[in-house]
Symmetry: D2
Subunit: 324 residues, 4 copies
């Protein structure tokens, strides 16, 4: 499934893994603010912000998986199977199809608070993009450098949760995910003291014993705990290179290796790509399963007032540097 995190050093970083058993043709897509993204049910004013992120472009419109805008607001949609419940179109409301949500929010909001306010005014609908692309069950992480929230449309209605850890995976709903962290209160990145019993000599026969109990499997709840632990205990320098480097290390801790997560029909869920967007500066970095090297696309190198998309297909082939 997937994992998204935020990270803040001097700049603000936002990214995710996309874990799937197949891959559409992912591309980094820059959508300038004048690109004609016509909404299905609603006529809106022009968008205020250009967007950069990974998208699938089935024909002319980009379907974003994760993106950031010029103002530094970021958003990603993650799988939320069976829990996501969208609404039918309601005539009196501003209806936004689920697949339009990322460009709609990022096109119009400068920060998380604005996004939350805008969400309270809209009706998120179950409109499919097309018959070939059925409705996806998703929930979202929305973040700027100061604030991170989780957006879930469930049976009970629209929920917006404060996301203090700055991490999102998949099921269960976010309140349960957050609660579950309490069960790991006793773990630590430090070398532990013996608290098991003072009557017994126990020893730190290896480094790392303080975190024994941290789950190592690929289920969404285990990835959530592991990503939160790894991110919150992470230590890095503040430079661009140090921050980006560390970001990919953090997401590496929840990356899925082919074969370890087997689905029916000999399919394997893998981490198709991993992204890290410097949302402050609009530089989008990514790696793919097939390519360990980091690639980047810079939002500010294109004409952000253009009306066409800028598309950079993901490079999925190892780029090995031969030293001799």
């Amino acid at each position: 499934m997937c994992t998204a995190i935020t990270y803040k050093t001097k700049n603000f970083y936002f990214g995710r893994t996309l874990d799937l058993e197949y891959s559409y043709s992912e591309e980094v897509v820059i959508m300038p603010k004048n690109f004609p993204f016509s909404l299905r049910h609603t006529t809106t004013d022009k968008r205020r912000y250009a967007i950069i992120g990974t998208a699938f472009v089935p024909d002319t419109l980009p379907l974003y998986y994760d993106a950031a805008n010029e103002a530094g607001l970021s958003m990603a949609g993650l799988n939320f199977p069976e829990n996501a419940k969208y609404n039918k179109v309601i005539k009196s409301k501003i209806n936004i199809a689920q697949f339009e949500l990322i460009p709609f929010i990022l096109g119009n909001c400068s920060d998380t608070d604005e996004a939350v306010k805008l969400i309270s005014k809209i009706n998120i609908t179950d409109t499919s993009y097309s018959s070939e692309l059925p409705l996806a069950d998703l929930h979202w992480i929305i973040a700027d450098k100061n604030k991170c929230v989780t957006l879930e449309c469930v049976e009970d209605g629209v929920k917006i949760y404060d996301n203090a850890a700055g991490v999102l995976t998949n099921n269960p709903p976010f309140d349960i995910q957050t609660f579950n962290l309490n069960n790991y209160i006793n773990l630590s990145p430090e070398q532990p003291e013996n608290t098991f019993s003072s009557k017994l000599e126990l020893k730190n026969y290896t480094k790392g014993l303080g975190a024994v109990g941290l789950p190592g499997d690929l289920s969404s709840q285990s990835r959530f705990v592991r990503a939160v632990f790894t991110k919150l205990n992470s230590v890095s320098g503040k430079s661009e290179e140090q921050s980006v480097n560390q970001f990919f290390h953090i997401l590496g801790s929840v990356s899925q290796t082919r074969g370890c997560n087997r689905l029916d029909g000999n399919k394997y869920e893998i981490t198709v790509y991993t992204s890290c967007c410097n949302a402050s500066d609009g530089i989008y970095y990514y790696t793919t399963y097939g390519n360990h090297r980091i690639n980047s696309v810079d939002l500010r190198k294109v004409n952000l007032k253009s009306d066409g998309l800028y598309r950079y297909p993901h490079i999925d082939k190892e780029s090995i540097n031969k030293q001799n």
Copy 2:
């Protein structure tokens, strides 16, 4: 600490992570067979095989961390604190200092069986390289494309264990590591059936539930279990690129992120480098903590009969490919 694995597709691959809180100046070093590596306690015949691997070269001699030879035999030394016990020099025997073991074995043996035979004839000594480089507590993994063993010098003497999983980490001794795998007999990469109770409806609310219980921390026993599970369930193509790519994904599952393993004095153990040697063809690939891109050095591109070292310092700076 560290993790080493073997991997076999069309060719045979061997590599490891080096997990430390500091870094010497690691280099890929090719040692041609005529390079004068004079042994401390023993006069030997010329070596039969050139070697490629990562080493630290304090002055003129390479101290190898992991290496492979022309014949496809591979070997790595991993931290084994407090358990490693070497011998004093015994005049009547062939004395090999611990730090000479990798070049001595790889210089003279064509496969694992030959290595095991040679080890039975030598006395592994506690000789330090120098006063600045004290004795390291190590154990070793030795492997060719057909067979893998673990070598441990402990209180009880020299132990050579069959290493069926082709994985080595650190403490505890290898027989305990291997035994411990039995406790995970019930884990699976597949979507599990409900065996908890037929009286209750449970569901696969996420992919990956079959492996819940797999440890996710960085202790040496947890890394051993996780690396064995990831490697043995791994699925990849057989081409060079597919094999190398998958190899780095497997070791990525036990990679250490800065901050998650804190030592005294605000030091952090990290995965300094990760290597993958195509031992069949003598191509040595590596990444470093600071550089996600794979670099490679090819044994066969140099004069293997030379008497000088070929040295390629590890490149530890992100090499980002800018797509625009």
Copy 3:
């Protein structure tokens, strides 16, 4: 804290542990239907059913911890700290103080469905019994031989959950407890096959490996999982002796030993008592921390139309049978 379970063989059994760091003077109390239990806020008709259970009787009224009535309906209140939210008295409603809930429901309902219906008509209030006995944060398990539910008064209102496992402990709220069971879908009471990897020989070196991963600590979520696993996989004969015997074994799996759960001020939470009520026949069995022998009180041996309580203080002293 506490654990309650239901159990059905030929008859229907219901009971619980009471885990506390102190003990009031618990007694088995039979409350005949004509006993004058005047409600604080409401004038009601006479009760239809006599009740048997463990209660604390601070002056004249019994405060029941768990009980069953003549009709076989059973109910227990378990600690639910910080999550329980009761209402203020609302004049237009039937107000039932939290401490009156067990006698009110069991006095008037013959089965779970009637109880659920009655609960929908009342307002459960935060009225304290007295200044010495402040409001307790509780949730309830209500069960007859056919149906079991969990009742929780939380921030969001009154929730009634189907309790398919027939088990209740404490925090978190019941929907989270139930969800969490999915994480154990892969556990089994059987000897497991090796699903870890077909490339490795693993063996059942001990019986019981199929349930490795079952939590063994005394937290409320771990006790819930362990009690559900133990109860649902339980096998016993159907006779009264066999059923009661097995019931105490099941609750024994979540019993708290003095010293393993330390609170501030050198206090220790222990399983003060364990009960098992044959709700079909009105026979109440219990053991205490201090007394492993089972004691019993029979509802039908007293005059159920009386207007006085029948009180049987818990016997908390080991009753050892000397065989010589």
Copy 4:
């Protein structure tokens, strides 16, 4: 399988669970010192001490499962499948059949040190008691009030381990069991501080969170960890009643409920009996699966110089105390 523990308050206590899927007719058997227990391969002097314990008496000789002698030395044999390796009879040695070991050691030694010394002089043989009673794979715990050891006859020879925790279960060999405790160094009976991350608010939503990670299944390694944790953190008064009461609570934490450990052919391993011997005073207490009440037999109430056995069949029927 089984669990044995020692416990010391004012007196010294020793006992065990016997976990099996069947039951022979267990009895408490007192063997006075003059009872003619003729050894198979060896002629010895008279025994110095009378013995009390649970045994199976197939014809005239008691086969002890666990016992203590007049001097306060205690010993129990526990299942050790596939690891136990006994010797053939060697003419030059004092040959003691495995099934004679408990009466031989307890009949002749006054403390653990004497027992260890005597064991070093004997040859423990693989002699079967009879064709109906084949050789059992066992290892032993031997303890007096000052010292506890584990005795294992394995491939490598006879091993005697210091048993600092005073606990024995079954496989794996004792050095691995002991090593494994290090993995739980971070657990605690106390309410934990948040060491997961200072950047996140986590809370003790339940008592007992400090021991999350303690295994709860019935495998021998999990029972070992749980029994050690429970015993070493145990708190009780020092009186006879308080000590015996607490002892049964400790072993209750590793008791096996019917149905949770399923073997082939619809058999279930259960805790057939649980014993607690006050080895200081020679009072043997026990409960059975079928009887929660504690029964006792007093060594000093019989003639310890007699030449006949005193036999007290286990009482396996609930002895319920009716309070009305």
